[in-house]
Subunit: 351 residues, 2 copies
């Protein structure tokens, strides 16, 4: 782990080692006004009652590479639950070795984002799930082909019936997406930060508490707030000072593509920061690998502030406190193909 | 599942529905002389004492896409434990969307194969594990780069120390392979066939027992015997009648590449048949998707026998009885990259 340098840690520690319970209570009170700890149960989602059967089906679908035309990629390929819920690539590799346009965000805690994708173009996770499956550079599949694939395997049909007991023909592309959303809603990762918000003074180190204070005082929390420490609201990248094209490529105009509003040029959803320390590289372009550098860029581009190295170190330490425990997931055993299962194809269709 | 047609099942069932315990005992005795049930514990492997620490490390490595140059492929990509321990592709897709030359065999129960790969060129699983990681069309990595990657993550260093406690510098390419072998040695899938061999008359249906009898009487068990119902010994594909080039491509001379012995042209290791019903497509070329067709081809090409449709159906039913229970595997949480972790590259190096 890239943590705080020893000298900086000693310095910050000296300043704060005697932080009293009273001070911690103050900080907690301020933090609880801005952030929110994760709940202890799976949250409800709109138009999709979450049941154990739906979660189990969703887990199978999430890990099933046969949702892609090639049979190579599953949801988990780019949102790998073993590596922070993302793929740790600049941008993902998809069908035909094509590169996706933006860095894959983590699936962990994503149920709490206001909307999905960097530009918020999907209202929720069930809308999001349908995107990459159909994207030519990602899974390159079609809804019809997906349904044919799932219907060809009796075990899937049984699972869909159990997950959607009131429906006559439960194996649909929409229900696939709902099941995936139900599974994703279980991917909550309680962290030391949650413990602190819930009252445990010792869950964060003194340096992390300093970092949390700075995160609020310097203005980071102006955009990165709420339960996901971000994931809510849209902001121009470079509101104070536009970063260079190597970090903010000119061709990607962000939310402008969704709203066609001039003000939305280079506007992106504030990144949710839970597990940020384990989901490098950063930004929609995936061009920055060092969290320290990412924090420095944010402070100049968004806040117009030059943070000191010690301040950056403390904020980075705080961000490490957002790394949570991934729920235990038993790797699924998927149904076997049958004679009617469409064959995988590695061909790249011309547009 | 593609199982026995109803008419054929009724026919075979009528013939055999009254199979007496005595007959079942006879069949069991004959079968136990040819095959062997899976053991109840992880088998010992040569030069690699298996410990819980080694298994846990091996599991992490098996699922870690950072063993590949691109960061896209893990061992599990082509030997997917969710889909029978293979990728259900004709041949695997690897680095740069290149296609591998042969169908990926299942990792399940592979510890019991006499040697690894279709041509047996790796003595054991620890030798095998090093192959795909370095193959340009698969994971396209180098031993040095793998070690640098693993050493860059302190958690991996700790895990290697725990797995190889007597070694001063435990993070080596060889030890990586040993840990993967240790994990793979746990991938045993007890099946209805094992239950039958162990004395449970009802574990196989009457049709499956007929199929087992035919499998031995017709000569299939001549090559497909032992604990893995195959995986032992090398045989020419087409000893009686050479299949067409669409199934046995002329360019792939099999074990000849390993031994340079003329007799070894188009010679391959007999495929291990445990879980064969869930690991289509078949043969080293991966050209046959239907297990019924695969059995028919084997009977003409290897035995010079034309099996009846009913016989093929019964044998296929028996082969379904080799589908076992995959062990419960908790999906690992892998260490996060650090500043010194080599960056993934999707570039294809020219040879």
């Amino acid at each position: 782990m890239q943590r705080l340098g020893i000298a900086a840690a000693a310095l910050a520690g000296a300043v704060l080692s005697a932080m009293s319970p009273v001070l911690a209570d103050d900080l907690r009170e301020r933090a609880n006004a801005v952030f929110k700890p994760l709940p202890s149960t799976v949250p409800a989602v709109k138009d999709n009652r979450i049941t154990p059967e739906k979660i189990e089906l969703g887990k199978a679908l999430f890990f099933d590479p046969r949702l892609s035309a090639s049979g190579v990629f599953s949801c988990n390929s780019c949102h790998n639950l073993a590596t922070g819920g993302d793929d740790n690539l600049e941008t993902s590799i998809g069908h035909g070795w094509q590169k996706g346009p933006r860095n894959a965000p983590t699936a962990l805690n994503s149920v709490f984002n206001e909307a999905q994708f960097w530009d918020g173009r999907a209202e929720d996770l069930k809308a999001q799930a349908k995107g990459p499956i159909q994207a030519g550079v990602e899974m390159a599949n079609t809804p019809q082909q997906v349904v044919t694939t799932l219907e060809s395997m009796p075990q899937y049909v049984t699972w869909f019936k159990a997950a959607f007991p009131d429906e006559k023909e439960p194996v649909t592309f929409d229900n696939m997406a709902k099941a995936i959303e139900a599974f994703e809603a279980t991917l909550l990762t309680p962290s030391p930060f949650d413990k602190f918000l819930n009252g445990d003074d010792l869950a964060l180190t003194d340096v992390q508490k300093t970092g949390l204070g700075l995160f609020m005082d310097k203005g980071c929390a102006g955009c990165h707030s709420g339960i996901n420490v971000g994931g809510m609201g849209y902001y121009p990248f470079g509101v104070q000072e536009k970063p260079g094209a190597e970090i903010l490529p000119e061709g990607d105009k962000g939310r402008f593509t969704v709203t066609a509003t001039a003000d939305d040029q280079y506007v992106f959803r504030a990144a949710p920061l839970r597990n940020v320390a384990v989901t490098a590289p950063y930004f929609h372009s995936g061009k920055v690998w060092d969290l320290r550098q990412a924090v420095a860029i944010m402070s100049t581009s968004q806040l117009g502030t030059e943070l000191t190295a010690t301040e950056i170190d403390a904020i980075v330490e705080f961000l490490h406190g957002l790394t949570g425990d991934v729920p235990r997931i038993e790797y699924p055993v998927l149904p076997a193909e049958t004679a009617t299962t469409p064959r995988p194809t590695s061909e790249i269709l011309k547009k």
